[in-house]
Every structure is written in structure tokens, then in C-alpha cells.
Symmetry: C2
Subunit: 341 residues, 2 copies
């Protein structure tokens, strides 16, 4: 590669000082209009670009945000949770709109990630995605918070969490989905997915589910809840387990779309008709849920909004503007698996 142009080269060509070049390029009001134009023209001609490392080093900020995605280490290399992927898309764009670059990193649950980013001055702040298992991370989150690292997370939102959290209104989503099924006349519900505090998001969904049941005077049958993590296979296995239990059901809520989709496969392999014999709803509204057979009724998380909120909050945090946790609305998307559309 040829010699890269520096601000000194431009200064020389323009007959001004290097300081003036620096100012002109950043549109400082201190610099004369004509000088600015001349400098910018020469910069363009020389294909000059400010050296980020130098400017970041000097000004002590990076102009980049780090996105840390957490995943189960068991997952196949190319199989990222589709929901995260759509968040990734909206976060990338939101960051770009705010003028930030995005550093993306997939973290295994075991790695010692906690200090790698902002401390290494690679990023001004961190976005954390995929902490289903919040409790496992609590300690690290607290440490991050103590260090004064700027970070926001997306996931379960609860009282007393360190840092700023955003998340979908999981409780209301679980409520909405279940209520919809009840209105369609279903009465015997099963739930596929973890329902305890080891997976706070699923738990909130489950609690919303239970609330709808209660309101309708329907029995909450704890034994019709089967644990599952958010994969098709886990949903499939959970559904098989459910069918072996002594538990009649005409409606099933999956704690996520992937679980619901795996569940549908198990039911269908078992000869159960969806939605006639079993109504199924999921949660997330990942793209796949349009295309399943039957298409999956689900709760949409507004990933676009969430991505924007996350980025905006983080940028505010970086600028020491106060920010508070909030919930993104959950929206029912009715398709055929619930027996309605």
C-alpha cells in the first residue's frame, strides 16, 4: 500500500498548519470558510481519512459500540438464535444512524469477557444480548457496573438489577397469548419452557400465562409445564415429554417460537392436528414462524424499536445523560396455529 496521507501532507499542500487542517476537517467554527473549503478539497483529492486510532487516542473515546452476544456453547456454529439476529440487524443500523461503529462478538458462557471491551478502549459502551440466565451473570454485571462501564442489556427486566435493562413486556405477552387462546374456547393449557428464576424471561411469560388462566377461572396445572430451552430440538423433546404425562391439553404455549415450532413437530408426528386438537402459540415472532405449518401465532417483540432504544440509551449513558430501564410492548400476531385466522 502506498504512503497514507496524513494531516501534515494536507497542511503542506494547503499552506496552513496541521492544527488548522484538523479543525477544518471537523468543521470547527473557528476556521475560516475559505480555508475550510480548500482543506477539505485537498483532503478529498488525497483520499485522506482521519486515523481513528490517533484521534481516539487523543480524544479518549472510540466512536464504537460493542455488541456482546451470549449463546449456549452447545449450539452449532452457524445456528444463531434467529431472534438475536434480528436484533443484531436493528442495532447495527441504529448505531450507524448515531454515528457509531459496531463491534460484534459472540461470547461463550464460560469466557471471561467482562472486561475485554471498554477496558481495552475498543468501545465507548457495551450492549449485552442473550442473558437468558440472568442469575449466572449477576456478579459480572455488578462488576461492570462498579467499574463504571457504560452498558445496557436486553432481556429480563427486574427490580434491583445493576445497570440499565431493556426488554420485552414478557408478562403481558404471555398474558395476551393465553387470553387469546382462552377466548377461542381452549381450556386445558400446557406450557413448554422453563418456569423458574433460572430463566427470567420465560418465567415472566409463564406468569403472564398463569394470570390469564386465573382471570378466566381456569386451573393452573403445574404438572403440564415442561422445561425447555430455546431450540427446536428442546421444544420437540419437551412436547414429547408432555404427551407422555398424564395430562390432557388442547392448547400449548411455547416460551419461545423455537420451542413452539419443535413442539408442533412432536405433536404432528404423534398424529395430533394443529390447531384442531391442539392450539399452539409461540413467542418472539421470528421470521420462521411465518412459514411453519401451520403458521405460528405468536407474540411479536419489536426488535426494531428495541434496537433503537438500546443504542439511544447507551449513547445517552456515554454522555452521562440519565437513562432508565423500560419495556418494549408485546403484540399478538395471529396466524393459524391457534385455530383462528
Amino acid at each position: 500500500m502506498k504512503h497514507k496521507a496524513t494531516s501534515f501532507d494536507i497542511a503542506y499542500k494547503a499552506g496552513v498548519s496541521q492544527s488548522t487542517v484538523s479543525r477544518a476537517l471537523r468543521n470547527s467554527p473557528l476556521v475560516n470558510e475559505e480555508t475550510r473549503k480548500k482543506v477539505q478539497a485537498i483532503a478529498k483529492e488525497l483520499n485522506y481519512k482521519v486515523d481513528k486510532n490517533a484521534s481516539n487516542l487523543r480524544s479518549q473515546h472510540t466512536g464504537t459500540l460493542a455488541l456482546l452476544l451470549f449463546e449456549d456453547p452447545t449450539m452449532d456454529d452457524s445456528l444463531i438464535n434467529p431472534f438475536f439476529l434480528s436484533m443484531l440487524g436493528s442495532i447495527t443500523r441504529a448505531a450507524a444512524r448515531k454515528g457509531y461503529d459496531l463491534l460484534v462478538s459472540f461470547q461463550q458462557l464460560s469466557e471471561d469477557w467482562h472486561a475485554d471491551y471498554e477496558d481495552a478502549s475498543k468501545a465507548d459502551g457495551i450492549i449485552l444480548l442473550g442473558y437468558g440466565d440472568y442469575t449466572d451473570y449477576e456478579e459480572k454485571l455488578i462488576k461492570l457496573h462498579e467499574q463504571g462501564t457504560h452498558f445496557v442489556r436486553y432481556g429480563a427486566v427486574a427490580e434491583g438489577q445493576p445497570g440499565v435493562s431493556f426488554g420485552c413486556d414478557n408478562f403481558h405477552g404471555g398474558y395476551l397469548a393465553t387470553k387469546h387462546l382462552i377466548e377461542l374456547g381452549r381450556t386445558k393449557f400446557a406450557f413448554l419452557g422453563g418456569a423458574d428464576d433460572s430463566c427470567p424471561e420465560f418465567w415472566s411469560r409463564y406468569q403472564g400465562h398463569c394470570k390469564a388462566l386465573e382471570e378466566a377461572g381456569l386451573e393452573i396445572r403445574k404438572d403440564c409445564q415442561v422445561n425447555a430451552i430455546s431450540t427446536e430440538e428442546s421444544g420437540f423433546n419437551a412436547a414429547k415429554q408432555l404427551m407422555e404425562l398424564d395430562c390432557e391439553f388442547d392448547a400449548v404455549m411455547g416460551a419461545s417460537d423455537m420451542i413452539a415450532i419443535g413442539g408442533m413437530r412432536a405433536f404432528q408426528e404423534h398424529g395430533l392436528k394443529i390447531p384442531e386438537q391442539v392450539a399452539v402459540v409461540g413467542f418472539d415472532d421470528i421470521p420462521i414462524s411465518h412459514f411453519t405449518n401451520p403458521p405460528l401465532t405468536t407474540i411479536q417483540q419489536n426488535t426494531k424499536l428495541a434496537g433503537e432504544m438500546l443504542v439511544e440509551a447507551l449513547v445517552n449513558l456515554i454522555h452521562d445523560i440519565e437513562v432508565k430501564a423500560s419495556l418494549t410492548p408485546a403484540k399478538l400476531v395471529v396466524r393459524k396455529s391457534c385455530g383462528c385466522a
Copy 2:
């Protein structure tokens, strides 16, 4: 945030010079074992992390790779081409394995992206993804190449392209898919997707498709090819157009899975049975194709391999090791839409 530790702080605490700290931290063989241990212990204690901006500035490389994803500006914010997403996953991991960070950026086709990355010394090299329309970018690619920028791209691989390109063996994939349908007894083929050099990847697939037809002595009916871009909607529209043509068909190849999936919807809405009346194959093997109704027979692109090759090639390029373009194998994945499994 508290005062961040620098190498001088460590030097002071360890009673050595700052140069020695720097060396010790990078495991230089020049430094005494004991000194090294002491320095590293103190660094850990102070939660010290090398300032990337400073070290990059000094050593003139960044340790990061930039991934530029090109997309149609018409697409919805959260709807990234699922195929790219899976490439993204495997590239991120491959980069991490090689010790590089990954900067991700979505580019609109209109933007002046070409010099923004390596020139700004944000990245040592660039990975380009999503140039379906190679011809539109030729000029920019040439410019990048001339500048000596390190880059690799994934997409159509052709003679005389600037830089290093990787891609799926699209021709063979188109051939395989079509041959499979022929062996199942289909004789009247239609093709959904662009079939000219404005979209070189689809074109190669089409040519492979035609070769299989020729080999089998089947007629190539140019009028049964309908243009489409890689979205469900475009596939849907193309299929509707096809049905309005005076063109009988019992087998349809979609230039991509999204096209095939949209096509299936159109056929089914029109009352055609898949695969009984129309066999359908796609291309890409995106996750959705497992879950369509019927599940889609398709050609798998090995995204994991591709991601690894891309990163490895780019890293070699950065170290001035020669690298040449190559193709990733195409593999037939038989599911139900072809009427076989």
C-alpha cells in the same frame, strides 16, 4: 469511571521501566521470566488492559476485520437476508478464533462506503458480502484493489475480478438441483430468478440448471424464466407471473430459498399441490426452509466453511501471503417439496 491504569502505573508498582512492562505483557522472549510474572500479576491486579488505540497507532495495525454487508435499501430494517445472517455468525466466530475483532456495517447500495474502513485505519482488512449485483460494484472494487486495501468478497466468482473472491459453486448447485428433479421424472421446468449478468450468482445457478436440462435432452424454455430478487414477495410475484404465462410446468427452481418460498405460497394459493403438481427446489438452505410446508428441497451453501475460508484468506492477505479465489461445494438437501422424501 476511575482513573484507568496505564503501563506506567504498572511500571511504577513493579519497579521496572515502562518498556519492560510493555514487553512483559506481550510475552516478549527478551524479558526475564520472573520480571514477566511480576508484571503480569500487577497488571491483573490493576485490571489493566492495553489501550488498543495507542498500540494500534504505534504498531500500525488494528487487529480488527470489517464486515461490510450490502443490502437492498428497500428492505425492512429488521429483515436481513437470512443467508447473510448465517454467514455473519460463522465469520464472527472464525475471526474470533484468529484473534481478530469484527466490525460490522450494513451498507446501503448508494453509500460511498469504499474507503471508509481500512483507510480510516479501523480495520486491517475488509470482508464484502452481498454483492449480488457485481457489475454495479466493479468500479469500486477496482479502486479498492488499486489502493492496496486488503479485501475478500463472497458471491459470484468469475475470471478477471479484482481482488480475491469466494463463493458457492452456484453452477454445480443449479445443476444438482435440476438433475434431481429430472431423475424424479419431472420434464417441464420453470426458473424463478434473474438469469443474466446483472445477477451473476443467479445466472450461474440458471446455467447449471440449463446444463442439467440439456444433458437430459429436455427443452430449455426461456419464456418460463421469470425474474425475481431474493425476497419472499418477489418470489411470490414471479410465480404469479409464471402462472399467467402460457407455460405448462411441473417443476420450478427458485434462484434462492426466499424466492422458492414465495413461489410455493403463490402456487398453493392458486390451488396447486406441492410436490404432486409442482416440484419446487430452492437454493441456500436457510433455516426457514426446514419449516416451510412442505419443507423445501434446496442446495446448501456451507456457510461455516465459507466463513472460515473468508477469514483465513483475509488474514493471509494481510500478512502478504498469496491467496486465490475458490469455490465452496454445493450440496443437495432433499426434503419434501421435490416429491421425494
